[in-house]
Amino acid sequence: MSGPELALARDEAVWHPRLRARKITGAVFVGLCVCSVVLGVAMLAALVIDVSLDGAARLFSAPEFSLSARYSGYALAVIIVLVVLFRVLERRGIRIDGALHPAGLGALTTVGLSRHLPFALAWWMATTIALRIPRALGRLPWIVLAMLLLTWAVYLFLDQAFLTSFASRIPGRAGIYAPLIGTLYMMVITAAVAFPLGVGAAIYLEEYARQNWFAKMIQINIANLAGVPSIVYGLLGLQLFVRAMELDRSVLAGALTMALLVMPIIIVSSQEALRAVPPSMREGAYALGATRWQVVWSSVLPFAFGGTLTGTILALSRAIGETAPILVIGGLTFIAFLPTSPTDSFTILPIQIFNWVSRPQEDFQLIAAAGIILLLLVLLLMNSAAIILRQRTRVRW
């Protein structure tokens, strides 16, 4: 046991505590988390106004509002760019990883060149997830790979025409291509919007907010939001996104509506996941000189991440079967093209199934049944992903 070796580490030149920078980073992230909560509260306010006041439509459709909505859209874009920028900065500027990992970007561009944006996005997400979390999740990359292979195998043996044909008046030619892609497309955007906002709000409420009456009120209301009938969200989406933001009956409008629908569930389940991390983890990190954000980011979130992800997947799998909100905001029932941009109109699986079921011809009933099986398959896939994730990321304290 000797002292001299430690001189190497005691020399102050090798330490760069950068207290200020760390605090600023923390402040920015907290700002983002607060934004999430504000959004949650704004959503609540909008919901109340929308449901209780008949004049909501006119209120929100005023020209000035749509202008400000556009600007808030730009603001959102800037925030997203900032998040990415700071994430990169925090990692000392050179090492770029996460969603911007070169391999992930490579996958995105390769598949993106095939002009199948939804597939490109799905691929990109799968690749980045596989690349980013292997250490924490053990064999997850292999599971992702196996799932992709399995999907591929099923795809080969299926009647491909059913999967790759558009809707048709002739039962033999009718396929489920457009609603399948529409559903995937919508869900990807929904997840991209709802996950960060939901987790951000949960972080703020759980780790930062003082436990006063205001926090409690927000808390109770968010829990209540999770129980609001989905058609109410449809009405809100119709006013807010379709009319006021002039998004029309687009994928984006649908995705944002669904994001509102799932966000409370994500917030509540993420809060539970955060609460499950014992306080001694936080104390341990604080005692080593971590800033508040560092404590949250590196010694709370990683251990709650599995829980938040599981909650998100379960929330999304609820949303995938929701028909009412999309019907209200005007998802089409008969479509002979693919949505290629977020502003295109679209349809989703349950609406298409509903459409087929309501037809008199018997052949369409069969097709509806096939569609239902497909929907169930997708659900099964998502739920098993959630279960696997929960198993893999469970920490026995």
Binding site: L6, L8, A9, V14, W15, H16, P17, L19, A287, L288
Partner: protein
């Protein structure tokens, strides 16, 4: 060691003055590892200077005007019955009390020429220089390596990380046991190993002072002795302040001892501070004697 760490003096001991005094002295003599250094006043360098330190939780006064000097590169023990404010006092030194919304501190703790409680002091920066080891081992559910590297990483350590991790684990007397599976989860270690890992984790950020809150109370006697040896070794380079309920442990590892006691209103006060040998053999306060010889709860 001839004495099991959890062996306590007989509670039914006779109460006359002389025998009490002798028992305290015997206790001290009996303990092999006890430090012999007799210091009547603090000729050592001073690491922390407490002046009229009071702590409140809301309206409740947990500590009242505590003043003493913590010597540099020595082990100082905080002893006293449960609830007398030992943990509260310890948590003042690295401002962990800041995390409790109702906690409020008054007075001053001078450290390296600045008042730890002053508004200008940054608690985050302070916690790197004054580390802490908790009662219950709390390793992160990560690899052993990642646990030790955690502190240096968040504090922007630019040097050779594997070397620092190895050195910290060596100093915590854990290296030989874990050197082949640094990638293993820290949760797979035994309780004693986990606690030494937590010590290695605290050492890795190169603190000047290490605070330990009953670091061995969750461990078996063998693991306890290991931690005690470790504390004595670390005291060559670090200032160590340790809370303990175990008199033998205090006598074995510390060179100075502070005895705290809470009165009727549960407010903790410093009864006596001095070289451990004196506190144990020749205490000036009757209550100290009573506590050391086992007359208090």
């Amino acid at each position: 060691m001839t004495i099991a760490p959890d062996e306590r003096p007989d509670l039914e001991a006779p109460r006359d003055e002389a025998s009490t005094q002798r028992r305290g002295a015997d206790l001290f003599e009996e303990i092999e590892g006890a430090r012999g250094a007799v210091r009547h006043e603090l000729d050592a360098e001073i690491a922390l200077e407490l002046r009229d330190l009071s702590v409140f939780y809301g309206h409740f006064m947990a500590l009242d005007s505590v003043s003493f000097d913590v010597p540099k590169q020595e082990v100082t023990a905080l002893i006293g019955p449960s609830g007398c404010g030992k943990s509260t006092l310890l948590r003042c030194f690295n401002r962990m009390n800041d995390l409790i919304p109702t906690a409020r501190m008054e007075g001053s703790i001078m450290f390296d020429g600045q008042d730890l409680l002053g508004p200008a002091v940054d608690s985050v920066g302070i916690r790197r220089r004054i580390g802490m080891v908790f009662q219950k081992p709390n390793p992160f559910p990560k690899s052993i390596f990642a646990n030790v590297a955690f502190g240096p990483k968040i504090n922007g350590y630019k040097g050779d990380m594997p070397a620092l991790v190895e050195e910290s684990l060596r100093r915590a007397a854990l290296w030989d046991e874990v050197k082949d599976d640094l990638d293993k989860s820290a949760l797979a270690l035994s309780g004693g190993q986990q606690q030494r890992l937590c010590i290695a984790r605290a050492i890795a950020v190169q603190p000047e002072i290490i605070l330990m809150d009953e670091p061995a109370s969750a461990l078996d006697p063998v693991a306890t002795l290991k931690i005690e040896d470790l504390m004595r070794e670390l005291a060559e380079d670090y200032t160590i302040i340790v809370v303990t309920h175990n008199m033998q442990q205090a006598a074995r590892v510390s060179s100075y001892t502070a005895f705290l006691l809470a009165g009727e209103e549960r407010t903790g006060r410093l009864v006596e501070f001095g070289p451990t040998q004196e506190i144990f053999t020749n205490p000036t306060d009757r209550r100290t004697e009573d506590y050391i010889t086992g007359r208090y709860g």
